[in-house]
């Protein structure tokens, strides 16, 4: 355990940290509004929990900064194994919420292992591409191990069922593989063969599915086909976003928000609540904050002095980017509704902790780049 050096502290990327704090602040404010109880006239306990998690997360960040991130390499597989083990425990001891089993109850709070999995996967992949990653580009057979590393948790998460988290894990995995350097020919080959395989397998399996299973898939691909479920949610979400107009309806004044038209207004659809209350102006600010976060993250990648750090930083940035992009696109009716939260913004302790610690790793890579 090395003590944090004074000079190290000077190299902390304060801009990045500030961006994160701003997003968390806006997020908590919106959680306050989304969960505000009209009947009691006071904020919901969820709001205070969110604040507590943010505080804990900052503590976690400080601790994370004290370690040299390269030590993580040694524990990469251990961390990964622990996260997979937690995921595997979910079906046995997990608690059910919203129709799927995603949480493990730990007395005071419920842990969502799929959130921890995101970071563990980034670490283990960064480690893999570091040790095995001595070539410029990878052939397909070189990618067997990372594919397994991704597939095991993805299947466990899909079984919960949590399509959103499994997809997100897939996007992060794919981004890291591409940036680590897959051969162009292999990539094309993968895309072509993959599409054909999905098409053929889909056709073969379709007839074997029960009507309600078919319906679920159709609904996912085309939510408009379910006007009473997600199709309705999307319309209401679009109305919420659009009705914010340029300057919004004002804090706590969102009418769509108060109507409970969305089952997940403080998690998956929090962007609609924010957009309704703060309008185009507020949304541009929020999007610029995310863009700056991603930009700054990619800067850290570019400046990293060694491969593990670069890939670690890239993985964390990819998590933030994909979650932010998919969530906002979903709220605006551009992509199907899948359960993906807005990073650092939506309500959720496990997610908040994971992302803040992930950002701390980014800061860690950034501030230790001068040490070579």
């Amino acid at each position: 355990m090395e003590r944090i050096d004074r000079r190290l502290a000077q190299h902390v990327d304060w801009a990045l940290a500030l961006l994160a704090v701003l997003v968390v602040a806006l997020g908590s404010t919106t959680v306050y509004s989304a969960t505000f109880s009209q009947a009691d006239g006071q904020p919901s306990p969820l709001f205070y929990r969110q604040l507590a998690w943010a505080g804990l997360g900052v503590g976690g960040m400080v601790v994370t900064l004290c370690f040299d991130y390269r030590k993580l390499e040694r524990y990469a597989y251990l961390l990964y194994g622990a996260a997979v083990a937690l995921l595997a425990m979910v079906p046995i001891v997990g608690i059910i919420g919203g129709g799927s089993r995603r949480w493990i109850h730990l007395g005071v709070f419920a842990l969502q292992p799929s959130e921890l999995m995101k970071l563990s996967l980034v670490i283990v992949l960064a480690h893999f591409f570091q040790t095995e990653g001595t070539r410029e580009t990878y052939r397909l057979r070189d990618l067997a191990v990372p594919t397994v590393l991704y597939s095991v948790p993805a299947v466990l998460i899909l079984a919960q069922p949590d399509l959103g988290s499994a997809l997100l894990l897939g996007f992060v995995f794919a981004s890291m593989v591409v940036v680590a350097g897959i051969r162009l020919r292999s990539l094309l080959y993968l895309v072509v063969v993959g599409s054909i395989a999905v098409f053929v397998a889909g056709n073969a399996l379709w007839g074997h599915l029960k009507p309600y299973q078919q319906k679920r898939i159709v609904t996912f691909l085309n939510p408009e086909a379910d006007p009473l479920g997600s199709g309705y949610h999307i319309i209401q979400s679009e109305i919420a976003v659009g009705s914010g107009k340029v300057w919004g309806k004002g804090f706590l004044k969102g009418t769509q928000n108060k109507l409970n038209f969305l089952p997940e207004q403080h998690t998956d659809f929090i962007f609609s609540v924010y957009a309704e209350e703060w309008g185009f102006g507020g949304c541009v600010v929020l999007m610029l904050l995310y863009l700056a976060l991603v930009w700054r993250g990619l800067e850290v990648v570019a400046r990293a002095k060694e491969r593990f750090g670069a890939l670690l930083a890239f993985g964390v940035t990819a998590i933030v980017f994909w979650q932010a992009f998919i969530n906002m696109a979903m709220a605006m009716g551009m992509v199907p509704v899948v359960g993906i939260t807005l990073p650092l913004f939506s309500y959720g302790g496990s997610s908040m902790m994971t992302l803040l610690i992930g950002l701390a790793l980014l800061l860690n890579v950034s501030m230790r780049r001068f040490m070579f």
Binding site: V178, G242, G279, F314, M371
Partner: protein, 658 residues
């Protein structure tokens, strides 16, 4: 360690020393040189992609909030786009002849969306003015629905008449937020006649909402009987509409809709006319009648009285009605046919007789004397006939229901053997009919006694068991199934009441509910039992004379089961002077025609105040007379040609065309 890829210096952890740090500007220079070009290119591509993605998001945001912002603002005011759920039409229920037993009639509720009404209480006052009546439940509905999500309607008045309908419809403008909601209302056309079998529906409760898939608040769900056990077939799939409303909540147009899918229709094996006859025959009694087809186990009639009106539940039962049903001392909610466990009395002798013949402890010629009582272990076990029956063989003992004969046979068999044969006839375990809270009854044996009381079996107890008293209990359905098993030649079926299910697609599903089990009784045993049961009714000394049906051979067995012990002095007490709870139960179980049984029946009269032969047999007689009404010879002389063979053929055609 060292890296093979050019440009990626791999620095060992040991080299991490703050001292090595150089001036930042220098590092910048080193960095650009250090970064491999390929990696940098891929990173640039990623950055470009991220920029593009955010550009697309900005574009969409502009479209929604700036270009179409006004449009969406209007839609957001007053929740202009709403979801209206359309409930699925529950499946219908028919009897075996296609008579409709349960249907859905259209009914109208007056509902109000308080948010649309602005001043809900004043609107209700106005409504009361138009209707010229007070609707206290309407004001109440506003205050009790605290948990109601905004813009969900509350029901002001359920199932309204035409006058109200017209009043509301014509004054829509003056009644903002008020509208009519049409919906199917469950209607049980035969009311209490079929209450226990069909059951009833009710609003889903919290437990059902959390444990079952696909239900929403205020959905109806089967709570009891057929409605509950066949819920998955009956319920169908709810539909709904996305509607656009104006500022006072009037429907402007349907944006999109999903049609409801009606539930499947269920066709029962039940014969409604027979059910009615059985129900009427039980008039003035508490008890149960179960009639089965002994060749299939199909239930033809299943009655439990007193009963209740399931229509009370269609709308959500009122507290007053519900407590009334719960506190009624005669327990109308209890389905005596499957939930009532009674000592079967002498009807149980069928099982003992079967055991005796199969085990060879007596043969048809074995004679045992009856002197009116049997001394056993310091106590006299009495026969119901004080003077005794004299020397009896098995046939006579069944016909005259001689207790002493069965005491002796029981002793020879032992309780464990009796239990074994009783179980073969389906006693002591649930039949598996899909009705609520079916009871298994009790068939005691030595192991059971040890398990329940921790005591050994006493031989004296075997004597009580041999005449169906003591610990022995059975439900009317079990006894009907037991006599059906004998009637059917020793094949036991699983009683069931659903014949087939008609899916909305027209497809016919036949959930095979029967499960024939061969009891292994010898044909000779069955023949001898049937002959004896025939003479119970046919013989002038038989205990079941009152069940005779003109022209039809009926086999049966009476039973009178004591609720309290006989008086020590064995004096006859007038049953009707006893309190109701202390009176005997009367049983009669029967099948007919003896040669080719079509119907098996059990009748149990709770606290009848009379014996099986006196009270239950005449009731069964009524039901059988009704069942065979077309075959009972007319009073005027029949043409000479109508001999047995032709008569039999007529029967077949008569049955087919019924």
């Amino acid at each position: 360690m060292g890296s093979r890829e050019p440009g990626w210096p791999k620095v060992p952890l040991a080299a991490t020393r703050p001292g090595q740090q150089t001036d930042e500007r220098d590092t910048e220079l080193v960095r650009t040189r250090d970064l491999p070009d390929t990696f940098r290119r891929r990173l640039n591509a990623a950055t470009a992609l991220a920029l593009l993605a955010f550009f697309v998001l900005f574009g969409r945001l502009w479209h929604l909030q700036v270009t179409r912002g006004d449009e969406y603002r209007v839609l957001s005011e007053h929740n202009r786009i709403r979801l209206k759920r359309v409930k699925a039409i529950r499946g219908l229920v028919f009897d075996r002849k296609g008579t409709v037993l349960v249907e859905n009639r259209p009914s109208f509720d007056v509902v109000m969306v308080p948010e649309d009404a602005r001043e809900p209480d004043r609107v209700i006052d106005r409504l009361e003015g138009y209707l010229e009546e007070q609707i206290p439940e309407a004001h109440q509905a506003l205050t009790t629905n605290v948990e109601r999500p905004p813009f969900q309607p509350v029901v002001l008045k359920r199932d309204v008449d035409w006058r109200t309908l017209v009043a509301v419809e014509t004054r829509q403008i003056e009644l903002p937020g008020v509208s009519l909601r049409i919906g199917p209302r469950r209607s049980y056309l035969y009311g209490s006649l079929l209450a226990h079998l069909l059951g009833y529906i009710g609003e889903v409760n919290m437990t059902e909402l959390t444990t079952l898939d696909g239900y929403r608040m205020s959905d109806m769900i089967g709570k009891y009987g057929l409605e509950k056990h066949w819920e998955d077939y009956l319920r169908g799939e709810n539909g709904g509409e996305q509607i656009e409303v104006d500022a006072v909540g009037r429907e402007l147009r349907v944006l999109r809709e999903v049609e409801q899918v009606p539930g499947a229709n269920i066709h029962l094996t039940l014969d409604m006319d027979l059910q009615q006859a059985a129900y009427d025959a039980l008039e003035g009694h508490e008890g149960s009648i179960v009639a089965l087809d002994p060749t299939t186990g199909a239930i033809l009639a299943l009655v439990s009285r007193p009963s209740f009106d399931p229509n009370l539940f269609s709308d959500g039962i009122s507290v007053r009605d519900w407590t009334g049903l719960l506190t009624d001392p005669l327990r109308p909610l209890s389905d005596r046919a499957v939930q009532g466990q009674y000592p079967p009395g002498s009807t149980f002798k069928i099982a003992v007789a079967a055991a005796a013949l199969e085990e060879g402890v007596v043969n048809p010629f074995t004679r045992i004397p009856c002197s009116g009582s049997l001394w056993f272990g310091n106590r006299a076990f009495r026969c119901w006939k004080k003077g005794g029956h004299g020397w009896m063989n098995l046939h006579e003992a069944i016909v005259q229901s001689c207790d002493v004969y069965f005491y002796q046979v029981g002793q020879r068999l032992g309780v464990d053997t009796i239990a074994q044969y009783a179980r073969k006839l389906g006693l002591g375990s649930v039949t598996g009919v899909r009705l609520d809270h079916e009871k298994a009854g009790t068939i005691p044996d030595s192991a059971w006694k040890r398990r329940v009381f921790g005591e050994p079996w006493y031989p004296g107890e075997t004597l009580s068991v041999a005449i169906g008293q003591g610990y022995v209990t059975a439900t009317p359905l079990q006894m009907a199934n037991a006599i059906a098993t004998i009637a059917g030649g020793g094949i036991r079926h699983r009683p069931h009441f659903v014949d087939y299910v008609e899916m909305p697609s027209g497809e016919i599903a036949r959930p095979n509910e029967d499960e024939p089990i061969a009891t292994g009784l010898r044909a000779s045993t069955v023949v001898q039992l049937k002959a004896a049961l025939r003479d119970v009714v046919a013989s002038n000394v038989g205990t079941g004379k009152k069940a005779r049906v003109e022209g039809i051979e009926v086999g049966g067995k009476t039973g009178t089961s004591q609720v309290v012990r006989l008086r020590k002095d064995n004096k006859k007490v007038d049953q009707l002077k006893l309190p109701r709870q202390a009176r005997d139960h009367a049983w009669f179980i029967a099948f007919a025609p003896v040669e080719a049984p079509e119907i098996a029946i059990a009748c149990m009269i709770e606290h009848a105040g009379g014996g099986g032969g006196a009270v239950a047999a005449p009731i069964v007689q009524k039901v059988l007379s009704y069942y065979f009404r077309d075959r009972i010879p007319h009073p005027e002389p029949e043409p000479a040609v109508a001999d047995a063979g032709i008569d039999g053929a007529n029967r077949q055609t008569a049955r087919a065309t019924r």
